[in-house]
Amino acid sequence: MTFESSPGQPPQAPAPLSPQEFKATAEGILTNVEWVIEGKSHTIKLAIAVMLAEGHLLLEDVPGVGKTQLAKALARSVDCSVRRIQFTPDLLPSDVTGVSIFDPEKRDFVFKPGAIFGNLILGDEINRASPKTQAALLECMEERQVTVDGNTYKLRSPFMVIATQNPVEMEGTYPLPEAQRDRFAARLAIGYPDINAELALLDRREEYNPLDALRPVADAEMIVRMIAAARAVHLAPELKRYVVDLVTATRSNAQVRLGASPRATLQLLRCTQVLAAMDGRDFALPDDVQQLAVPVLAHRLIPTTETTMGGGDTKAIVSDILRHVPVVSHPGRY
């Protein structure tokens, strides 16, 4: 089963994207989203990087800082199909994936696609759904396909899940299982805006919701091309070694019970490539890796009980690792 891409887009020439075009388009999306979320350009940049790295994004923050706004703005900036799922305790897996229902006219079961069949999926308050519903997302997120009643349906490309969750209010929630968390390429927090940004926010929203005024600056096909272009960014052996060193360091860290997975390594490198391309470069730098290490690695680590009791968190652990792992793994050289 296939779905046509969004209508009204002229077919793009299949010429490879130059770093400058990549940078310009990415900046277009960035400016667009910034129109809605003021003063958070770094977070937005990382969110775009995750999207172009074909990763899934987990936005974890307190209510009201604009998690959903960010997700929506990102979705609106890209002209593609956007689906929204509000996760609630009574949400069923079939609501996500779709269900076969009996069509009396055809006298046959017909597959009704669920909310997951879109380019951008906004999963709001994902930890409020029951574990079985959360688990329904697993196959979709990793394999980009859905299997219902023995039939496998391919999902669209690009495909990205942007989930939000509230870390503070834990009552009546089902914390994401290990495997699910590992499927999110990055976890971002938005944080409160600073005073100027908040003032600007008030001014802008006096008359209308900027989200409504948002116009798409790229289409799905462009995104596919950008994804392909990002994959061509050069990764030097020293850089790969650095990434592996970082991930290895999470596994041997005394404060961590479970370190980052090889999937984390892959996703860190993919995001690194995108970030480099967004900077107009055709090669990645350790600086890119360092920007991404906390968002990509921190949510996958399981700290030891002692660390948790002592108030330590995994972000601090990853930052600490960044401070100690040599960028070039010769002793005495950096």
């Binding site: 050069h234 030097a236 020293e238 850089l239 470069r281 055709d282 090669f283 990645a284 730098l285 350790p286 600086d287 360092q290 960044l322 401070r323 100690h324 792992v325 040599p326 960028v327 070039v328 002793p331 005495g332 050289r333 950096y334």
Partner: protein, 784 residues
């Protein structure tokens, strides 16, 4: 005891142990107390400063101050304030002492009494070495470098008196060096904390590590191989054995007391200030040279005195011949064990016991020396053979009992060749003598110079013949040697030249020491010749017979007459008029006396030994030069890449103390550097970006302009650094030290791995036969 105090003590003790060879060059052990006191004071000063937490600079200053206090207290001679605070007068006195010490060192042959200037110089030198030693061992924690200081301490007595320093004295310095190294390593190991064996037992810190076993075995093997190769290669051991044998015999200057004639000669000539030593009043209008020593023993070490036989009594001497002169000698300041006399002396009136050596005519004190004598008188004849007589006379009869002693010479092929070439055509003794004089003359290119090596051994003589520069010692030794090579009996005489006229007397100074040659003619006996250019010898006498007998050469045929300036082919015609009235041409009077034996005033201050200090002075600049060369090679246009430029940037950061850590990316490092040197922020950014591109992009970076960026950054860092940091970056760059340290760590790790592998191999090779599985059927019957 704290680690540093322990290390300080070890450093001081090892240095003290290394000083034991000084026993060979000093009389008695009186020097030991002041030397040990100096070392102790210096070590204490350094240790106190360290205990107070002060840096190496202040420690060194404190140790220098300690040394100064010791020297002031010991040698201030009342010039200091409160005995230990030096005043300008003290330093003046030190200068005097140093001069005295230098002349003492060059005049005396060991063993010398440890007093005055010599002791002062010794303490000064040892003190400076002790400061360096302490710095190497404790301050900088590089005990391996202390090998240099220990070696310096050992080499001083060895080079001064190789004969007096037996080989076994080397054991103590060597042991103390090993002690230093071992102690430092123990300190390192004990800093690790407790050690456990493989079985988990706690072991003592001094228990050797398992790795030490392979080191011990390799050391043992090395020693065995060295000793075996020494016995197999005979040339290596001969000198060694000889020296050992010599030491046990006692070696050295038989019958000459403590003065080596050659050393006294060169020392006196090199002594800067002129001191009158003798005043002679004689009725001889033109006295010749005063004979003192006769050196007739020629070995490969050069001419040396034979054993004087104190046989004849002074009463046996009788004056023969027509003209008998008398001389009265007043001893001003001569120290010698022999009596200076003219020609053939007789009727010697002198206090004390003196005897005559029959072969040489040298008058030797028998328990008496010149120091005890204020004045003496004698009569003498000084027959002057004429050239015709000599031309007709033959040489010493080979059957003569003295033939062997006076013609013996080492077999040096180069010498034989020279003599064959120069003297081969001569048939009579006199022709040979004249040929040698001609060869050594200025017209053949020989030049007088005091600044040559002082040793009279065969190489030195060949050097002299090759460089054609030397003074009386080389001239006399060369002439006598060449004559012996040509089968003519010849010997070297050391004594004093005519001196300068003072009223009716002749005054002789230390600059009048001289060496010349005596050749044996059948009939006239021993005849004096002086090959040294007269221009070099104040108070030189020309010997008219040293010329060819020619009818037109009338003046020279008059024996005993005042010299014709052109008389001797071996003499420079100027400045050497032996006429008594020419006494005004003393070293202070003539226009060119400074070139002479006696005119060495200025030149003597520059003893070639001081040249050895040049590399020492250059030593502090080695790191700076090294670092500069490294920078140059990195920034050389042919080699310049972003990587080399960045390496240089990182080293600069380390030199100037900009803290960069391993976890910084090139761009971040550039940012940190930009903060440290804001004016060069752009240069730093360019360099960081270039490095990032070089390392991480597929294409690499363009190095254009990077060298200038590095220079900008360097000058800006230099400008912003405080002076102390700047000088450190210049002369003691941290990056260089880190490089050496990491290299050393790498090497030692490699060595340790290798030795562990080797010992494993040896162990498995040794154990293999013991396995119970001898049937080779791969069935496992023993332990796996």
């Amino acid at each position: 005891m704290s680690g540093q105090r322990h290390a300080t003590m070890v450093a001081a003790a090892t240095l003290a142990l290394t000083l034991t060879p000084l026993i060979g060059i000093f009389d008695g052990v009186g020097w030991a107390f002041p030397v040990l006191l100096t070392i102790t004071v210096i070590a204490t000063c350094g240790s106190l400063m360290r205990a107070a937490g002060r840096g190496q600079g202040l420690q060194t200053v404190a140790m220098c101050a300690g040394l100064l206090v010791v020297l002031t207290a010991g040698f201030g001679d009342g010039t200091a304030f409160l005995f230990i605070v030096p005043l300008p007068a003290t330093f003046e006195h030190f200068g005097y002492l140093a001069n005295e010490g230098v002349s003492g060192i060059v005049t005396n042959a060991p063993p010398v009494p440890a007093e005055g200037g010599i002791l002062f110089l010794t303490l000064l030198g040892i003190g400076l070495v002790a400061i360096l030693h302490d710095m190497f061992v404790v301050g900088l924690r590089t005990p391996a470098l202390a090998g240099l200081t220990l070696l310096t301490m050992y080499l001083v007595p060895v080079s001064v008196a190789p004969d007096a320093t037996a080989w076994f004295w080397f054991i103590l310095p060597a042991v103390s060096y090993l002690w230093l190294l071992a102690d430092d390593n123990l300190r390192r190991v004990s800093a690790f904390g407790h050690r456990f064996t493989g079985a988990g037992q706690l072991v003592s810190q001094r228990f050797p590590s398992p790795m030490a076993r392979s080191a011990r075995w390799s050391a043992l093997a090395f020693i065995v191989v060295t000793l075996v190769s020494l016995t197999v290669v005979p040339t290596n051991t001969s000198g060694f054995i000889d020296r050992v044998a010599e030491d046990f015999e006692g070696g050295g200057d038989v019958g000459l007391g403590d003065v080596n004639p050659w050393a006294q000669l060169s020392g006196s000539l090199n002594r800067p200030e002129e001191v009158d030593v003798l005043r002679v009043s004689t009725d001889d209008p033109n006295p010749r040279y005063l004979r003192m020593h006769v050196l007739d023993e020629l070995t490969s070490d050069g001419f040396g005195p034979n054993d004087y036989e104190e046989g004849g009594s002074l009463d046996d001497l009788v004056a023969e011949g027509d003209e008998v002169y008398t001389a009265e000698v007043e001893n001003l300041e001569l120290e010698a064990s022999v009596l200076p006399v003219y020609g053939d002396p007789a009727d010697i009136e002198i206090d004390g016991d003196w005897a005559v050596d029959d072969d040489t005519g040298v008058i030797i004190g028998d328990g008496t020396d010149m120091g005890d004598i204020d004045s003496y008188s004698f009569s003498y004849t000084d027959p002057a053979p004429n050239a015709e007589t000599l031309a007709a006379a033959g040489g010493m009869d080979p059957g003569d009992g003295r033939w062997e002693d006076n013609t013996r010479h080492p077999d040096v092929p180069e010498m034989t060749e020279i003599v064959d070439r120069e003297v081969g055509g001569a048939s009579t003794v006199h022709e040979k003598v004249l040929a040698v004089l001609e060869y050594l003359s200025a017209s053949n290119g020989f030049r007088y110079s005091l600044t040559t090596s002082e040793a009279g051994n065969d190489e030195a003589i060949l050097d002299f013949l090759a460089t054609q520069e030397g003074y009386c010692q080389q001239y006399a030794a060369a002439m006598a040697w060449m004559l012996r090579e040509a089968d003519v009996a010849a010997r070297v005489v050391i004594g004093m030249s005519q001196g300068r006229r003072d009223g009716t007397d002749w005054v002789l100074s230390n600059h009048d020491y001289h060496a010349w040659v005596e050749v044996y003619y059948e009939g006239p006996g021993w005849v004096t010749f002086d090959p040294t250019p007269a221009s070099g010898v104040p108070g030189a006498v020309s010997f008219p017979w040293a010329t060819e007998p020619a009818p037109e050469d009338l003046p020279s045929q008059d024996p005993g007459a005042t010299a014709d300036p052109t008389a001797g082919p071996g003499e420079e015609p100027t400045g050497a008029a032996p006429d008594p009235s020419a006494g005004a041409e003393t070293p202070t009077g003539g226009p060119t006396p400074q070139a002479g034996d006696g005119g060495s005033g200025g030149g003597a201050a520059f003893d070639p030994v001081w040249l050895l200090l040049v590399p020492l002075l250059a030593l502090p600049f080695v790191p700076a030069v090294w670092r500069g060369l490294l920078r140059r090679s990195r920034l050389h246009p042919a080699k310049l890449t972003a990587k080399t430029a960045w390496d240089e940037v990182l080293d600069l950061a380390m030199d100037y103390g900009v803290g960069l850590t391993d976890s910084l990316t090139p761009r971040q490092a550039a940012g940190v550097l930009g903060q440290a040197a804001p004016a060069a922020r752009e240069a730093a950014t360019v360099l960081g970006s270039a490095m990032a591109r070089h390392r991480y992009s597929a294409q690499g970076a363009d190095p254009t302009g990077l060298a200038d960026a590095v220079r900008d950054l360097h000058s800006e860092l230099d400008k912003r650094a405080e002076p102390r940091r700047r000088y450190r970056a210049m002369f003691w760059p941290a990056s260089l030290l880190a490089k050496i340290a990491s290299k050393q760590a790498e090497e030692s790790a490699r060595l340790a791995r290798r030795s562990a592998r080797a010992s494993d191999r040896v162990r498995s090779a040794v154990r293999r036969p013991r396995r119970s599985n001898s049937r080779k059927d791969r069935s496992v019957t023993g332990r796996p």
